[in-house]
Assembly symmetry: C2
Homo-oligomer: 343 residues x 2
Amino acid sequence: MPGSGRVRTAGRPTLEQVAAEAGVSRGTVSRVVNGSLEVSAGTLKAVQDAIRKLGYVPNQAARSLVTRRSDTVLFVVSESEARVFSEPFFAALVRGLSQELSATTLQLNLMMASTARQHERVEHLVRNGHVDGVALISLHGDDPLPRNLAAAGAPVALSGRPMSGMDGVPYVDADNLGGARAATEYLYQQGRRRFATISGPQDMAAGIDRLAGFRSALKGRRGVTRLVAQGDFGQASGEHAMRELLSRDPGIDAVFAASDLMAAGALRELRAAGRRVPDDVAVIGFDDSDVARNTDPALTSVRQPVHDMGKELARLLTTQIDRPGQELAPVILPTDLVCRESA
Amino acid sequence: MPGSGRVRTAGRPTLEQVAAEAGVSRGTVSRVVNGSLEVSAGTLKAVQDAIRKLGYVPNQAARSLVTRRSDTVLFVVSESEARVFSEPFFAALVRGLSQELSATTLQLNLMMASTARQHERVEHLVRNGHVDGVALISLHGDDPLPRNLAAAGAPVALSGRPMSGMDGVPYVDADNLGGARAATEYLYQQGRRRFATISGPQDMAAGIDRLAGFRSALKGRRGVTRLVAQGDFGQASGEHAMRELLSRDPGIDAVFAASDLMAAGALRELRAAGRRVPDDVAVIGFDDSDVARNTDPALTSVRQPVHDMGKELARLLTTQIDRPGQELAPVILPTDLVCRESA
DNA sequence: GATCGTTTCGTGAGCGTTCCCAGTACGATG
DNA sequence: CATCGTACTGGGAACGCTCACGAAACGATC
C-alpha cells in the first residue's frame, strides 16, 4: 500500500543519512562524531562535510539509551528555612555552575526539593540513570539525601560544609573561618578593643565557622573584651542581638556580624541608640550582598567568591563523572574583606 | 561461550520485566504506566503491584526516542547588563517556575546564554527536539531568539514584556504601569504636590511602563509639578539623578524611583542634602527587594508577585505544549504597594 | 447457533545511537 | 610470493520504550 505510512524523516537528519551522504557507514560517522582517531583523513573530511551540509546534531535520547549516560547533572535546592541565607547565593552560584558546565556537554537540570517526596524523586532520578551527578545546596544538617545518593554510587557534590560527616562526599565552601578572622583582626588593627559578634545559628556550619573565626582572631589577645549574641542570619535578629549586646556592654566599639542582614539590623539599632558608625562603633558584615552597598553607612563586609564556588561545584561533579570512584577533597575558597564606610 | 557477555539487567527493571512479573505483555504495562483506560481492573492491579514490587521507573531516554518528546523545558537566562535588574528576580522566578513544573513530568533545564554561540545552541536544542519548550528571561530589546524559536514551532514564553512586537509569543509581566501609578497616587493622596521620578532606562519595557504609570497618575492634576530624571536601575544612577532633580527643584516633596536600588541612592543623596525622609520628601521604590527592607528609613515599595510570575511562565509553556499552535495572551500580574517608613 | 461488535490484550516494528566483531586492503616481513 | 599485522571500515545487535494492528474472548443480536 504505497503512499501510506507516516512521513519519514520529519526533520532532523540521522546518523544514517549522514552516512549515506558521505558514502560511508553509520559506524564511521559515529566515530567521527565522537572523535575517535582511527578514521582516515579523507573520510574524516567527507563525513564532516556531510554533517555540516545536513546540519546533523546527534539525538541525545538515542545516545543515552545505549550509553546509559544522561549527560545531565541535577542541581537540587533544598528550599527550607535556610532561604534567607541562600537567597543572595543562589543566582551567582547557578551562574558559576552553569558557566563551568557550558564548556562540557553536560546539561544543568534544576530542581527544588523540600519535601520528602521530592527527595525520593531525586533518588529515583539518580538510580534510574536520568542524571549523571547531583549538586546539593542548603540542606538540613541531618539530611540523609547526599549520603544515600553517594551510597548508590552517584557523583555528588555539596555547596556548604555539611554538618554531619559525609565522608566521601566532597563539598565547596568559602573560608568562613578565615574570613571572620580577617574581619575581626581588621577591627583590632584599627585599635578597637571592646568586641561583640552577632553569630549565625549554631546548627549551621557557616554559623559555627564564622563564630570560630571571630574567636580565633581574638584568642590570646590581652585587654580585649568579647561578647557573643546569637542571631539567625535575618535582619530582625541582628537588631535584637545588638540591643542585647548594648545592654550587656554599652561601651562596645566593634561588631562583627555573621551576615550582612544582621549587620544592617545592628546598624539600625546602633543608630537608634545614638551611636555613630564607624566613629563610636565599627561594624563588619558577611556576604558582601546588595544590602551591604545600600546601608548607611555602607557596610564593610566579607566577600565570598560565590561565582567561583559554583564553578568549583561543577568541577567536583565533572571529575567524579569522568573518573568514578575517585575520592575528592573539599574545596575551600578564600574570602576577602571589602572595605566601605562602616569600619 | 557461556558466562561471557555483559551482565544483563544491571539494575533498573525494564518494562519487559514488569510484564513478566505481572504475567502480561509489554504493551499492557505500557498502557497502565501511561494511564490508558482500556485495561481491565484485574490486570491493572496486577501490573501496579508488579511495578511497585520491582520499583520500576520508566526510562526517559527510551521513551523520548520514540515519542520525540523530551519532557524538558529550557529556561534561558540572557545574562547581559540587565543583571542588576534580574538579580532579585531570578531566585523567586525560578522557584515559581520549578514549583509549577513539579506538578507535571516536565524537567527544568537551565542555561545561561549571553553569547551568540550560546543562542545558537539553544536553537539547536529546540530544533532537535531536546527540549519541548523554552522560557526566556531578560533579553535585549532586539533579540531575535524568541522569534526564531517560535517560528520553528517551539513553545516559547517570555518573562517581561518584550520591546519589539513578538506577535504570537506570550509573556508574563508585572503590572508595571499600574504599580507605578498606584505609588504615585499614594504620594498624591498624602498631599504631596511637587513630584519627581527617577525612571529606568527607556529602552526597557519596565523602564518605560513605570514612567508611564507615574505620568498617568499625575495626568490632568492641577497644581502639581513633575520632574523626570533617568537612571539605569542601579544605585549610583539613583544618587546622580536625585542630585540633578534637587538642583532643578529644591522643593521636591515626593520621589518615585523605578527601582529600589535607585530609591536607595536617592535616599542617600537626600540625606546628604539635609532632607528628612519622609517628612520633607517622601520616597517610593519598586521591587520590594531586600534592599527596601534595609535602608534607613525603610523603603515603601511596589511589590511584584515574582513567584507567581514564575508559575505563570510555566503555565504558559505547559499549555502550549499540551495544545500546540494555540495563541496565548500575555499575562499581567497585579502589583501592590508595601508601605514602610519612607512614604 | 452463526454473526457481529466491543473490549482487552499481545506482538512486531521501529525510534537513532553505540558497541563490538568481522571483514578488507595494504604494506611489511620472512 | 605466501603470510601476517595494522589501520580502517561495515553492519548486526542491542538499549527500553510506544504505537498500530490484529487476535482473542465474550456478550448480544437475529
